[in-house]
Amino acid sequence: MEEIAKILNIISICILISTFSLVASKRILSYLNAFRIQSILLAAVAAIYSVYYLVAEGKLEGIIIIFFMTVALKVIYIPKMLKKISLRVEYKVEKDFFINIPISIIICCGLVVLTWFTVSKIPLMNNGYNGIFLVQSVSVILMGLFFMISRKKAIGQIIGLLVIENGTFLTAMLLTSGMPMIVEFGIFFDLLTAVLILGIFVFRINETFEHIDINKLRNLRG
């Protein structure tokens, strides 16, 4: 398990780096690419676990299904759909962020440090790789949240939500090698429906408001 943990550690660092590159990217297509790379790495984590169980214990665990679903949904289907949406709603990319990129990166570094500081306070987390895993995956979640806050356009917010979800999956896989199967299925199903519904709403916002700038939706306040 020690060698596996080392490999997983490297992959989860790569996921963290891919999240940084997501925060640093300006265009919708580069968001989508960064998200796709992140999902591929996430699928790799699931693949490593399932191969490990197959070799070490000789049984096929449910985690292999997570691998297939991650590849099918998060690597192929969702990025493709979002790309289609972004091409259909007229989308010229100028500055669609509130905070400029260098400052965003510095804030994200701050988030990682904050997570590390908090996790180091938990006694259980100080042994082995679990603490490092938790730092990396929770940082991904917080950076996803930051990404959502800092982007104005609807698609940026959808990607932020997906990154938060990826981070949670990463936490679940690294710490517990996957939640019970029925729960994982349900989460995937919810995720898919959520993205579909959000996609439909992007069209509706575009039709009714003639833009998808969430920052300008200000009819309801107070």
């Binding site: 979800e165 981070g167 939640m179 029925i182 729960v183 009714t208 939706l217 009819n219």
Partner: protein
């Protein structure tokens, strides 16, 4: 029996699509679906009162009903029955005015029953992972209902609703992962590791620190869905823009189901710590913050449905406060308050729907003389306002009084004082803002009389229930609340 609860709304939701163009058939499916649901839930309640709990053996016992979720189930099915009857009146009027066409009429009922299905699923499961899935599914099922009118405001509200709730609830998922991690570490990997009963029995072996962090994430996550301040921002928009029957369900039922998730996790953390200091403080602070926020925002609203929405935030805050104080009296009062708030608030949203249909506006300043124009709706609405602000003899008075007394008894003087202050402010806000709507002369001639025959009947039934339970608690309900309280207190 348990599976019938899931089967009925799901079947109803699909059945609507077989109806070609007959509105009457749709109404019949709707009402018979919810009545059957209510009947089944009564039967299950009887079993629960006799045996203490019901578990299904399928899927590792993830379906489980004891007195606590039995109570939530009872409230859910009762309110959905009443609201679905009201809904026929509301939607028929909208249909007759050509605001909705046939296909969206059918879509509305189909989604309504899907929404009911997801809420029932939340209340009858003990698996915390499945609970998360179904709470997220409630958001997805109701998103189109919130954006049903498809105008600028309702689309904005729906977008806000789905984004804020999904993000919030993603944090709850992280909390659940941590909870699972702590169980996995000490109890090994089984399907049972997310079942409440199993976790609660083995609460002592879990890691206290991980549990505390998990609880924070769960409170923030599910708290977003409950509408606790400062995560409440989606709530006034969604409640005010949705069609009134949906607002009634969102406020009367949905918020309770999310609260149910929090309380289940809270009992595990309390049992692990041996006291309720940690969870109690968190719940009291969030509860008081919600009541305070609501008190301030009610004073400045211009839209009567938004006032009712802020009042939901207030009442969820009061319920959280009661659970946070965590004495026998306060938990009893909180559980009772859940029922009272559901009924009273759905009555108010139903009445506000009638007013909206009659006057075709939600602005308070444009409405006058409701009592003259619609005598029954107006009277019920006015009495309902007094009921929701905690006037006797209505049931909310009893439960609010219980929570206040419990706060004083547990020496939480600051909390009790602030609660009373905020409640006074809220009463002042309600009366100064809304009383003008009922009297005086209408600006335009709207025609005197109720919209239809069915909606006033629903309003009167709910009014009768809340007036009676304010003075007399039926024995079966008392027994149910008492055993639910014992489950939460773990005695």
């Amino acid at each position: 029996m348990l599976f019938l609860l899931l089967l009925i709304p799901l079947a109803a939701s699909l059945l609507f699509w077989t109806v070609k163009s007959n509105r009457k058939v749709i109404n019949i499916i709707n009402i018979s679906g919810t009545s059957a649901l209510f009947a089944v839930s009564l039967f299950i309640l009887k079993e629960v009162l006799e045996h203490g709990k019901i578990t299904s053996n399928a899927l590792g016992g993830i379906f489980y009903i004891d007195a606590f979720n039995g109570l939530i189930l009872f409230t859910t099915t009762l309110v959905t029955l009443l609201v679905s009857i009201y809904s026929t009146g509301y939607m028929n009027t909208e249909y007759d005015r050509n605001i909705v066409n046939h296909s969206s009429f059918r879509l509305y009922y189909s989604l309504l029953h899907l929404f009911i299905f997801t809420m029932i699923l939340t209340t009858i499961t003990q698996n915390i992972g499945l609970m998360w899935i179904s709470i997220e599914a409630t958001t997805l099922a109701s998103a189109f209902l919130v954006g049903f009118y498809n105008n600028k405001k309702s689309i904005e509200a729906a977008w806000k609703y789905i984004i804020i709730c999904s993000v919030g609830i993603a944090f709850a998922l992280l909390g659940i992962v941590l909870l699972y991690y702590s169980a996995f570490n000490s109890l090994g990997n089984t399907l049972q590791c997310l079942n409440w009963q199993f976790l609660n029995d083995n609460a002592g072996t879990l890691h206290a620190n991980v549990l505390k962090i998990a609880f924070i994430f769960v409170v923030i996550g599910f708290g977003t869905k409950v509408g606790l301040a400062p995560m409440h921002t989606w709530l006034p928009d969604a409640h005010s823009q949705a069609p009134s029957p949906i607002s009634a369900l969102l406020s009367g039922v949905l918020l309770n189901t999310a609260m149910y998730g929090i309380i289940r996790v809270m009992t595990i953390v309390n049992k692990n710590a041996g006291n309720s200091l940690f969870t109690g403080r968190l719940m009291i602070i969030l509860g008081l913050l919600s009541v305070g926020f609501a008190a301030i925002f009610i004073l400045v609203q211009k839209d009567f449905k938004r006032i009712l929405a802020y009042s939901s935030i207030e009442h969820m805050g009061i319920i959280a406060l009661g659970f946070g104080i965590s004495s026998a009296l306060s938990i009893f009062a909180s559980l009772f308050h859940i029922i009272n708030h559901s009924l009273t608030k759905s009555m108010l949203f139903a009445a506000s729907g009638n007013v909206y249909l009659k006057y075709d506006t939600k602005k308070i300043s444009k409405i006058n003389g409701i009592i003259k124009v619609m005598p029954v709706t107006g009277t019920v609405f006015l009495l309902g306002l007094f009921a929701i602000t905690g006037m006797p003899p209505f049931s909310i008075f009893t439960s609010e009084l219980g929570i206040t007394i419990a706060a004083f008894k547990e020496a939480k003087y600051l909390a009790a004082g602030l609660l009373l202050l905020f409640l006074t402010l809220i009463f002042a806000g309600f009366t100064s803002q809304m009383l003008g709507m009922f009297f005086g002369k209408p600006h335009k001639d709207h025609g005197i009389g109720e919209l239809n025959r069915i909606t006033p009947v629903v309003l009167l039934i709910i009014l009768a229930i809340i007036a009676v339970t304010g003075l007399y608690l039926p024995p079966f309900l008392e027994k149910l609340i008492n055993s639910a309280r014992d489950i939460i207190l773990q005695v």
